[in-house]
């Protein structure tokens, strides 16, 4: 399936995730080179990651998930990655989905694959979160970029090296999800969505976080 010469880098941005990080690393480490970006955690996330012997990049200050991903991306590109996968540290994504997610890139069908929690019917998403936050975000995103996606801000995605060289994450916070979509569109990268399983441990981002993303996006436009 995966060619041995294909270098897969799995970027795990992490902020105070001692509880789940170990399980996440052990689940994905067989699929490629794991790069944990410790985004200024104040718990023992960094030590946990180092115990697994994976690459650990340490942000001295907490800069946000977007910034952590951008650091991981740069490391991966500097080290000759062919495929770069973003994977959340809180255990909401399933490692078994990973080979399926990157297969379209290996087959050279597309350059970017975005995980979608809505394409999969049996995902247990809290009703309130699904309809009042996620669906609204999807509608907003589709209106803004004139596209038709079923999910926005899903942290599970994969890029070919070529695609990632074009994508620049400048949003340090959570708005990077929309920014990535925007750049996929503007660089005319071939992309597809892929159904992924989501396991919610916690609520994740609420309404306030959603509004903050909106604000970041609008101000990001002004401050270029």
């Amino acid at each position: 399936m995966i060619n041995d010469n294909t270098k897969v880098f799995i970027i795990i941005p992490c902020y105070n995730e001692t509880a789940n990080l170990s399980a996440v690393i052990s689940s994905v480490k067989n699929y490629g080179q794991v790069v944990v970006v410790d985004d200024g955690s104040i718990d023992s996330s960094e030590q946990v990651a180092r115990e697994w012997g994976v690459v650990v990049l340490k942000h001295l200050l907490n800069r946000g998930q977007g910034a952590a991903l951008a650091t991981g991306n740069r490391y991966a590109l500097n080290h000759g990655a062919d495929i770069i996968v973003h994977f959340d540290a809180d255990g909401q994504h399933q490692a078994e989905d990973l080979p399926k997610l990157i297969q379209p890139i290996i087959n050279n069908e597309v350059e970017v694959v975005l995980g979608s929690r809505f394409l999969k019917k049996d995902n247990q998403i809290p009703w309130f979160k699904k309809w009042l936050i996620l669906k609204l975000a999807v509608i907003f995103q589709n209106l803004m970029f004139g596209i038709k996606l079923t999910d926005s801000h899903n942290g599970f995605r994969a890029f070919s090296k070529k695609a990632l060289e074009k994508i620049r994450i400048t949003q340090d916070g959570m708005a990077h999800g929309s920014e990535i979509v925007e750049q996929i569109i503007s660089h005319k990268l071939r992309y597809k969505e892929f159904p992924v399983t989501i396991m919610y441990h916690e609520f994740g981002q609420g309404i306030v976080a959603g509004l903050r993303i909106l604000k970041d996006l609008l101000f990001g436009k002004i401050n270029k």
Partner: protein, 129 residues
Amino acid sequence: MLFVTYYFMYYLPLQIIITLFVLIVVFRLTKKYKENILKTSEFIGWLIIWIIVVVVFWLPQTTSYLAFLLGIGRGVDLAVYLAIILIFYLIFRVYLKIDKQQKEITKIVRYLALDEKDDSRPKTQDFKE
């Protein structure tokens, strides 16, 4: 005559205080200008602003005149409007500046994170936007 007396009694203390204050400020400005801390353009800009302050306090009717030109009822209203516009503009500038600094902090943090790995020393041009 009574009106004039009343007028001056009402305004005089504040006008004198403001004038003294402006004099001190202008004195300091001149000093800074002579010490080459301020550029000529900056010096003139500040001087004009403070002269306007003095004029407005001694001849309040000038603001009424300007307000009338702009279609605003009272001179005081014009001053308040201008002040609010100025404050909003400054807040906006401060916001942009903070945002820029946040991005710069991220760049430094990223540089340090990648620099730790000796073999991945990033190229300098990577950090130019």
